[in-house]
Structures are given as structure tokens and as C-alpha cells.
């Protein structure tokens, strides 16, 4: 193929053909791209990984975000201005996310951005929005976004971070003198989860009997199991995410680790549990930002679940789906309070906002714009106890929102 030569064909072209060909060529190139009419709608950009391993979570997020926008538009929008959601596929890649964000800001002239599911994408979008002074509500679990290095006064972090989830889970699962072994994914998010657990263990007095860092995105964990088993821990803490979590728990069960110790994870993912059989996840304890089971005790959860079921043919909202709702709704409520889209007014409104849209009372902490919210602790149910396909977990604890659980502003590097 590379050996083919340019002039290997003596096709006899007259001048007329040649000009016609060039004409159509230029015509195609100059397809008139209609610039988006700048009407008075409030435009919210929503980058999410529609392609790739978290496509299901992304679709849930889009459905929840669209639900929030519909609810606000049905009540007359914001001062009569309709809200429009512009969903873009960031392909779970920071580079793509930055390009899509640039397009949303430069071409679509969005007033704010909500979204992102991975910490790399969140940090990329944050980098673009903070240079251009665009509001950004990020909904991916990460500690890095709270630190002063990445801080942007236009960015509000609606999601939980590892410090909060590990603190809540540890308080439930660890006792004084519990022997804990850690299997940790060797990347930033993994280190954050380990640090959170260590912090909580120090407070409770639980003892670490061993730590193994496994390569990020590894498929095979069998090589770590023998060593973990030899540590004879009471609790095996597996700190990784997504497919790594499902793989490592499955292989820990294969190696019989669940017989001798209880498996605890910082975050229990709805869709990862579905990706593995109930037997494998049975008894695993982990944290979460939202579980539809909250509707039994929380009116706002009941309202959200019912609205979601109505809009999506009876389907229930998942943990990551709920972030789409709480992220967009908190922004819109702030815009309503600020009476429009003026960035500084909306920032002030967000900083002062008290909102309870799906999971109980929440507010944004002033110094790092982290949403202080409740943290659920769930335990995966046995197949027998499940009352339906979506009845995956039982809520074993619900940590009330408190700043004590967070790293202090000074710790994060903010001047106090």
C-alpha cells in the first residue's frame, strides 16, 4: 500500500472535468456551519462520557439532568428564560473534555457547565473554565479538586470526596483494634482513598496489617491475593474504582478471602454491583452519595424517585445518575436566587445556598466550594433478601452532613 505511486494511472482528464472536481471539493469544504442563534435561553453545558466504560452512568446522569431542567422550565424557567441542556460526549478523556468545553464556551456561549465523571476530566474542564471565568459545578469524586492548587472561584464541587466517604465507612465498619489490610489502586484517586481510611483508622484506633498497591487498570489481581490472605486481616479494604473494583472483589472471593475477612470499599457502585453476581458482592460494605432506598425516610428522595420513574418508564435513579440531578438543580436554584446568569451574583448565591433536592440538606463550604452533604453507608444484599432487581443494597448508616468529616480549609492550603 505504501508502495503505490502518485502517477500510476494515465487517465485522460480534460480541463472541464478537472475544474468541476475542484469546484465540488471546495464546495464540500465550505459547508456553511450555521452559528447557533444567540437567543435569551440559559444554556448549560453537560460533558459526560457517553462512550467508554461508564456509558451507563453517563446516560443516567443525562436523564437526571434533563429531569431537573424540565422541572425548572415547567415552573416558568428562571425569570421567564427557558433553560437548555447541551450534552457533549467527553469520552472519559481529559483532552476531549477540554476541547468540548472550549466549544461550549466559545461557540455555544454557555452560561455554566455541569458534569464530568472522572477526576481527570473534571480537572481538565476546571482548567478551561477557571481561565475564562465560567461557572462549573463538577460531579466527580475527587479530593484534588478541593486543593488550593486546582481551586477556582467559579467551580463548585457537588460530589462527595474520598475523605468524606472513607470517614463514614470507617466509622461504621472499624472498631478499636480491628486488623485492616489495604489493596489500593496505584493512582491519585487510590491514594486519596487510602489516606482517608488511614485518617479514620487513626481516630478509631484500628490497626493496619498490610498495604498492597496494585497497578491502575490491571485486569488480574490473583497475584496479590496470596499475600493478602497471609495477613489474616479482619477487614480487607479495597480502594479502587469501576471495573477494577468489580474485578478485585471477584478475585478476592475466588481466593476465599471473604471466608476469613469482611470486604469494605470506599464507594459501592450501583452499576459495578450489576456487573457482578449478587453472591460475589454479598456482605460488601461501602459508601455512596445516593441510593433510591432513601425514599422510605426522605420526602425529597421520594419526590425525586417518583419524578424520575415517571420520566423514565419506572426506572430508578442510580448513585451516579443522582449527581446529574443534584448538580444541575443546585445551580438552577442559585440562578433563581441571583435572578439571572450574572457570574458573580450566582457565585454569591451558590455560596449562600441551602438546598435539599434529593438526599437531604446540603450547602457549599465557603473556602473550597465543597458540597457538605450526608454520606450513606450501604451493604450489598444477599440474593435471597432482594425484593426486586434494583433492591441491591440495605442502608446501614446515614452520616449527617458535617464539616468535621472534611479536611480543614487550612489543611487544603487555603489561608484561614
Amino acid at each position: 500500500m505504501t508502495k503505490d505511486n502518485r502517477n500510476s494511472n494515465r487517465f485522460n482528464i480534460s480541463r472541464r472535468h478537472m475544474l468541476a472536481a475542484l469546484g465540488t471539493g471546495v464546495g464540500v469544504m465550505a459547508m456553511p456551519w450555521i452559528a447557533r442563534a444567540a437567543d435569551d435561553n440559559i444554556r448549560i453545558g453537560f460533558p459526560t462520557p457517553l462512550t467508554g466504560p461508564f456509558a451507563a452512568e453517563a446516560k443516567d446522569q443525562v436523564k437526571s439532568a434533563e429531569l431537573a431542567v424540565k422541572q425548572v422550565n415547567d415552573k416558568g424557567g428562571i425569570n421567564g428564560r427557558k433553560v437548555e441542556l447541551l450534552v457533549r460526549d467527553d469520552k472519559l478523556n481529559g483532552g476531549e473534555a477540554a476541547t468540548r468545553t472550549l466549544e461550549l464556551i466559545e461557540k455555544d456561549k454557555v452560561h455554566a457547565i455541569v458534569g464530568s465523571l472522572s477526576s481527570a476530566v473534571q480537572l481538565a474542564v476546571n482548567e478551561v473554565t477557571r481561565a475564562r471565568g465560567v461557572l462549573y459545578v463538577s460531579i466527580s469524586q475527587s479530593d484534588t479538586i478541593n486543593e488550593v492548587k486546582d481551586f477556582s472561584k467559579y467551580t463548585f464541587h457537588e460530589a462527595l470526596n474520598p475523605t468524606m466517604t472513607t470517614a463514614a465507612v470507617a466509622r461504621y465498619a472499624f472498631k478499636k483494634g480491628t486488623k485492616v489490610a489495604h489493596l489500593v489502586a496505584d493512582y491519585a484517586y487510590g491514594h486519596e482513598m487510602l489516606r482517608g481510611f488511614k485518617r479514620a483508622q487513626a481516630a478509631i484506633g484500628a490497626e493496619t496489617v498490610g498495604e498492597i498497591m496494585h497497578p491502575f487498570g490491571a485486569a488480574d489481581y490473583s497475584t496479590f491475593m496470596p499475600r493478602l490472605r497471609s495477613m489474616r486481616p479482619d477487614i480487607l479494604c479495597i480502594s479502587n474504582f469501576g471495573r477494577d473494583q468489580a474485578n478485585s472483589i471477584k478475585q478476592a472471593v475466588d481466593f476465599g478471602l471473604k471466608q476469613s475477612s469482611k470486604i469494605v470499599v470506599p464507594v459501592l457502585l450501583h452499576n459495578q454491583r450489576l456487573a457482578v453476581t449478587p453472591e460475589v458482592f454479598e456482605g460488601v460494605v461501602g459508601g455512596s452519595n445516593y441510593y433510591w432506598g432513601l425514599e422510605g425516610t426522605l420526602p425529597s428522595a421520594k419526590a425525586f424517585n417518583d419524578a424520575y420513574r415517571a420520566a423514565n418508564g419506572g426506572a430508578i435513579p442510580t448513585d451516579y445518575g443522582a449527581y446529574g440531578y443534584t448538580g444541575v438543580m443546585s445551580l438552577l436554584q442559585a440562578m433563581q436566587a441571583a435572578g439571572g446568569t450574572d457570574t458573580d451574583k450566582v457565585i454569591a448565591a451558590l455560596e449562600a445556598l441551602k438546598y435539599d433536592v434529593a438526599k437531604g440538606p446540603q450547602y457549599y463550604r465557603k473556602c473550597d466550594h465543597q458540597s457538605v452533604q450526608s454520606v450513606l453507608v450501604l451493604e450489598s444484599k444477599k440474593k435471597a433478601d432482594m425484593k426486586g432487581d434494583s433492591d441491591l443494597f440495605s442502608i446501614v448508616a446515614n452520616e449527617a452532613p458535617s464539616e468535621q468529616v472534611l479536611r480543614t480549609c487550612a489543611e487544603l492550603g487555603f489561608p484561614t
Binding site: S230, R243, Q251, G256, A275, T277
Partner: protein, 288 residues
């Protein structure tokens, strides 16, 4: 480090190596016999896992999945050779590589459309779940089965290639396809069978790995890089090389996981870089 731990670690290295061997064998057979690098090898490994899962859920038994899926995907591989790869013979050796690279995109996205982009549980067959205590440590039964099966297949393959007429034709065909045609052997049929066999082995690797890892559309990407590393270390086109190198890489990864777990993935590539510097043609390969 007590000896029990070392033995268990060594065994899990051999089990990991077994999967590497079966996938690298498929790649080496196709390259060794046809001079074609199958860049869709990782994707077909993944398609094999899904096929095994699909057949197992239809028939309700893992064993049917294990038997039927590799054959089914092997035939699918023949279809790929017949419809696509065949048109490329006589052209630059890069073309099949580029074609299969494009094909891997189509296969991965196709599986996403049909089975969704989330992982699907591949339950370990009830007969093989659990751990057995061999006195020197705890060994998961499923992995013992995998090692045994891969060993059996390797022996079967060796017998097939060394001892049967078909094996003779295949090996001669790889040396000098022109001569085979002159001798009246329909070389295109041989290549059809060889490509089907190579793809079938990749699918078998997928089915065997299914219960060990969660089955998802992206599982093929890492497997392709692993298969390349093993084939390069073993020596391109040498079957013995693929077998020895597969086990070697599996054990080296496992032992590294004991001492410096985070380096486990890097060590595979570093090992390859070292082999390249000392013996560019690989341990058992002939100088390209």
C-alpha cells in the same frame, strides 16, 4: 516470606501465564504461518469471552460455552479471512495489520451496541468455584483447571502441527507458499484454516479469562499489548517461543507483584526492552 506464600504466588503466575500463552499462541500461529499480524486479536479475545458467556447463559452450562464459543468465533475468524484479509495478499505487509486495527474498533463498538458498555457477570462454573488446600497453600480450583486445559491444548496443538499431514502442509506453507501452490496445495484453504485456528485460540483465551476478570468491551486492549510483548519476547512466529515466553512473563509479573506491586505492569514492557537489546529476534525466533 514463607515458602507457602512463594508457592502460591508462583502458581498464580503460572495461571496468569497460561492465559498469556493461549492468546500469544493464536497471534504467533497467524503470523508464523501467514505473515499477518492480527491487530484485532485483543478484540476477538473479548468477543470470545462474550460468546462464551452468551452460549453458557443459553445452555445454562459453562462447558458448552467453553466448547462452542471458540469454534463459533473461529468460524467467524475464517469469515474475516475470507471476506477481508484475502483481498490483501500480495499487497504491502502493513495492510492486514491496518485492516485488523480498523476491525478492532468495529468489533468493540459492535459488542457495546449488542451487550451494552457495562461489564456482564461471568459466573465461575459451580464445579470449579472455591479454593483447595494442597497443604502448601490455597489454590483456586478454577485456575488449576485453566492451567491444565491450556497445557492439554498446547500438547494437542503440538501433535497436530508436528504429527499430522495437515500440520505438515501448514508448516511448509509458512516457509514457501509459492512452492505449495506449485505442488497443487490450495494454499488459500490452508490460510483460511490457520486464521480460524488463531482466532479460535484467542476466543478460547477470552472464555477462560471470563470468570477470572469481568467481561467488558475494553478488556481486549490490554490483552493485545500483552500478547505482543509475549510474542516479541518468545520470537515472532515461533510457537515454542510463545509458550515459554508466556509462562515467563506470567511468573515475572507475579513475582514483581510480591515485591513491588505497582511495577507489575511496567516490568512486562521492561523485560521486552531487555530481550530486544540482547536478542532482537526474540528467544526462539530466527533473525527477521
Amino acid at each position: 516470606m514463607d515458602t507457602e506464600l512463594i508457592l502460591m504466588q508462583l502458581f498464580s503466575g503460572v495461571a496468569l501465564g497460561a492465559i498469556l500463552v493461549i492468546t500469544a499462541l493464536g497471534l504467533s500461529i497467524i503470523f508464523g504461518m501467514m505473515g499477518v499480524v492480527n491487530f484485532a486479536h485483543g478484540a476477538l479475545f473479548m468477543v470470545g469471552a462474550y460468546a462464551g458467556l452468551w452460549v453458557a447463559s443459553l445452555t445454562g452450562s459453562f462447558w458448552w460455552g467453553l466448547l462452542v464459543a471458540p469454534i463459533m468465533i473461529g468460524v467467524f475468524g475464517m469469515l474475516i479471512e475470507f471476506v477481508l484479509i484475502r483481498r490483501l495478499y500480495g499487497r504491502s505487509i502493513d495492510d492486514p495489520l491496518l485492516l485488523t486495527f480498523g476491525l478492532s474498533y468495529v468489533l468493540v463498538e459492535g459488542v457495546r451496541i449488542v451487550f451494552g458498555s457495562d461489564g456482564i457477570p461471568f459466573p465461575t462454573p459451580s464445579l470449579l468455584t472455591g479454593v483447595v488446600d494442597l497443604g502448601v497453600g490455597f489454590f483456586p480450583i478454577y485456575r488449576i483447571f485453566v492451567v491444565a486445559l491450556v497445557f492439554a491444548i498446547v500438547v494437542l496443538l503440538w501433535l497436530g502441527l508436528e504429527k499430522t499431514k495437515f500440520g505438515l502442509i501448514v508448516r511448509a506453507g509458512s516457509r514457501d507458499p509459492m512452492m505449495m501452490r506449485v505442488l497443487g496445495v490450495d494454499i488459500s484453504k490452508v490460510w483460511l484454516a490457520v486464521f480460524g485456528l488463531g482466532v479460535g485460540l484467542a476466543a478460547l483465551g477470552g472464555v477462560l479469562a471470563g470468570p477470572m476478570r469481568s467481561v467488558n468491551p475494553e478488556m481486549g486492549a490490554l490483552v493485545l499489548a500483552e500478547a505482543f510483548v509475549v510474542t516479541v519476547i518468545g520470537g515472532l512466529g515461533s510457537l515454542v517461543g510463545a509458550i515459554i515466553a508466556g509462562l515467563l512473563v506470567g511468573v515475572v509479573i507475579s513475582m514483581t507483584a510480591l515485591f513491588a506491586p505497582e511495577m507489575a505492569t511496567i516490568v512486562m514492557f521492561a523485560l521486552m526492552a531487555i530481550v530486544l537489546l540482547i536478542r532482537p529476534q526474540g528467544l526462539f525466533g530466527k533473525l527477521a
